[in-house]
């Protein structure tokens, strides 16, 4: 019997995913966004094969050279090939984006599920804590964390991740609250299911859709925050090829070599825009009621 039930469950899930994909496919923007994201991921993974030069190879060409056939995006003040650095930069940005969202979603999701499920005093205390987190502007909180812990990759991810916790906590908490009082939870308890199992099996699936959407948009905002912090000199330090710090470096040569600021920023904009368009499309596909 359980085998059959699982099979039915699996079937239903598959048909659900199919349905979502069918709805998503109609949205040309979302598909285009997804393609750009996939291309970028491929670029990050295959960076060593794609990049014409090493990202930190100095004097790969003349210094501050404009775009040319040999250096399509020009070179920076150390003569490093800008295209190679942009390609390697995708690794850092996507890495930071996904890990930061992972931190935020896992911590936030856990907090939200626990406080929503148990309610009462824990709920009160943790939600007040979220109020406190929300009372500090996100970027400024991240700046403070990186400022205190020191500017490096790990701290950057922690800072951006922590500042994203409240949004996931809220979604999961709302879902847990709405599920908590329902009869099937009582029933699950009656047959002796553990709290953890109830949370994992009943509460999380109910808020997967908003979590997925929020995560997609969250990756976009994490990439943006990380780049901003690096731009301020509070994130990834040179010579690591990171888009934000490349911009910061290029800024000094705005007059003579504007390409140094133009391309890294453009690619940040493209990535973030693609993620946002895709996230939007995903939301419409997951919740057709919202679509008008």
């Amino acid at each position: 019997m359980p085998v059959k039930k699982d099979a039915v469950k699996k079937d239903r899930r598959q048909s659900q995913i199919g349905e979502i994909w069918r709805r998503l496919r109609v949205n040309k923007g979302a598909v285009a966004g997804l393609c750009v994201i996939l291309l970028l991921t491929a670029m990050a993974v295959f960076a060593p094969w794609l990049a014409p030069y090493g990202p930190n190879k100095m004097n790969a060409g003349p210094r501050l050279a404009a775009s040319s056939l040999k250096h399509p995006l020009g070179t920076d003040s150390f003569g490093r090939d800008q295209l190679s650095r942009v390609i390697y930069g995708a690794r850092i940005s996507l890495y930071v984006g996904f890990i930061a969202v992972g931190i935020g979603a896992v911590c936030g999701g856990f907090i939200g599920a626990v406080v929503g499920y148990y309610g009462g005093r824990i709920d009160n205390i943790l939600m007040r804590l979220m109020d406190v987190l929300l009372a500090v502007p996100q970027t400024i909180l991240a700046i403070a964390i990186v400022g205190a812990l020191g500017a490096n990759l790990v701290n950057l991810m922690i800072a951006v991740g922590v500042s994203q916790i409240p949004r996931y906590a809220r979604i999961v908490r709302a879902s847990a609250l709405s599920v908590r009082g329902q009869e099937f939870i009582e029933a699950a308890r009656a047959i002796g299911a553990s709290d953890l199992r109830i949370i994992v099996e009943n509460i999380l699936p109910n808020c997967m859709a908003p979590i997925i959407v929020q995560s997609t948009l969250g990756v976009a905002s994490a990439i943006l925050s990380a780049a901003a912090l690096s731009f301020l000199g509070l994130g990834i330090q040179p010579p690591t090829p990171e888009w934000g710090s490349m911009l910061s470096l290029g800024r000094q040569y705005m007059r003579n070599a504007p390409h140094l600021t133009f391309y890294p920023g453009l690619i940040i904009a493209v990535v973030v825009l693609s993620l946002n368009i895709f996230g939007d499309g995903l939301r419409d596909a997951l919740d057709p009621r919202l679509r008008q």
Binding site: T139, A144, G147
Partner: protein
């Protein structure tokens, strides 16, 4: 209503207290030693110890926090390690540019975002709607620091008509205002659009049509009054985001505001200034949210009634 305002202000206290603890803990997680930073590598052990004592760094964290808290409540945010000026004075000195920037940007964002959203909703599913949506998403996705640099490139270097940095004359505020407003405009436009699409389907709009009112009256009186309610909420929620933008914009355009002050302080490990600055931002954000709640009550009589009851 007054009672409600009072209640809200009282409610602010624990939040700000929490923020002060949070900031204090984060700042004191720092691995570096400000005394060392301040005196440089040549300082003797005795010099360092003296300075630590002078700054209260030798006491326990809890004690340091309570000293910090009681001083803060007295309006004493401590002294900057770097300049030895009072932190409060430094903050107030730098307040005006940040405030101007925030006010101008919010005004621009509201003035541009709401019409954009209304236009998109009125032309739903046409190319106008698609274009408005795309522009909004673009505005939402552009990194502020890059947009700032590109505007600078365009209007200060290629066609030099605007000053690239500084603060003092109105021309210097144009580009920073646009940069800071872009993101908020996008958020407001998107919220206005979806709120409007929701409202036009409501029964009371049909009632208004059935009464034979003219279209402009229905739009302005019946639709917009309801559309604005969620938009105001979003403006409030987004204000924190905007304060983050203030830091970045001030850095890009070299504006001597509170944001720049905080960034510089972090570079010099000037804890009191960082602490005070962030607390100051949190305080501003809380005040704005209080204001937003009051506007909310003005717009929605149902909320107002709850306040009266509570």
């Amino acid at each position: 209503m007054l009672r409600y305002i009072f209640k809200r202000i009282v409610f602010l206290v624990p939040v700000l207290l929490g923020v002060s603890i949070l900031i204090f803990v984060i700042i004191h997680l720092a691995p570096g030693d400000p005394a060392e930073t301040l005196l440089g590598p040549s300082a003797t052990a005795q010099d360092l110890a003296e300075l630590r004592e002078q700054l209260g760094l030798d006491k326990s964290l809890v004690l340091q926090y309570f000293t910090f808290l009681t001083n803060t409540l007295k309006g004493d945010f401590g002294r900057s390690i770097r300049t030895n000026n009072s932190v409060l004075e430094e903050l107030l000195d730098r307040f005006e540019p940040s405030l101007m920037l925030a006010i101008f940007s919010m005004t621009l964002a509201v003035a541009a975002g709401i019409p954009l959203g209304v236009l998109a909703a009125l032309r739903q599913n046409t190319w106008v709607d698609t274009l408005c949506n795309f522009v909004a998403l673009l505005g939402f996705s552009l990194p502020g620091f890059w947009l700032g640099l590109m505007l600078m490139l365009l209007f200060s270097i290629m066609v030099p008509i605007l000053p690239s940095s500084g603060y003092g004359e109105w021309k210097q505020l144009i580009m920073p205002t646009v940069v800071l407003a872009t993101n908020t405009t996008a958020v407001i436009a998107r919220m206005t659009r979806s709120s409007m699409l929701e409202v036009v389907r409501q029964d009371y709009v049909r009632t208004a049509k059935a009464k034979g009112l003219n279209g402009r009256l229905i739009l302005l009186r019946h639709i917009m009054s309801n559309v604005l309610i969620p938009v105001v909420t979003v403006v409030g929620l987004h204000f924190g985001h905007m304060l983050g933008g203030v830091v970045i914009t001030e850095t890009v355009f070299s504006i001597p505001g509170v944001g720049r002050l905080i960034i510089d302080a972090i570079r010099f490990q000037d804890y009191p200034v960082v602490q005070g600055g962030i607390l100051f931002f949190a305080f501003c954000l809380s005040l704005v949210n209080l204001g937003v709640d009051l506007i909310y009550a003005l717009l929605d009589p149902r909320i107002k009634a709850q306040y009266r009851a509570g």
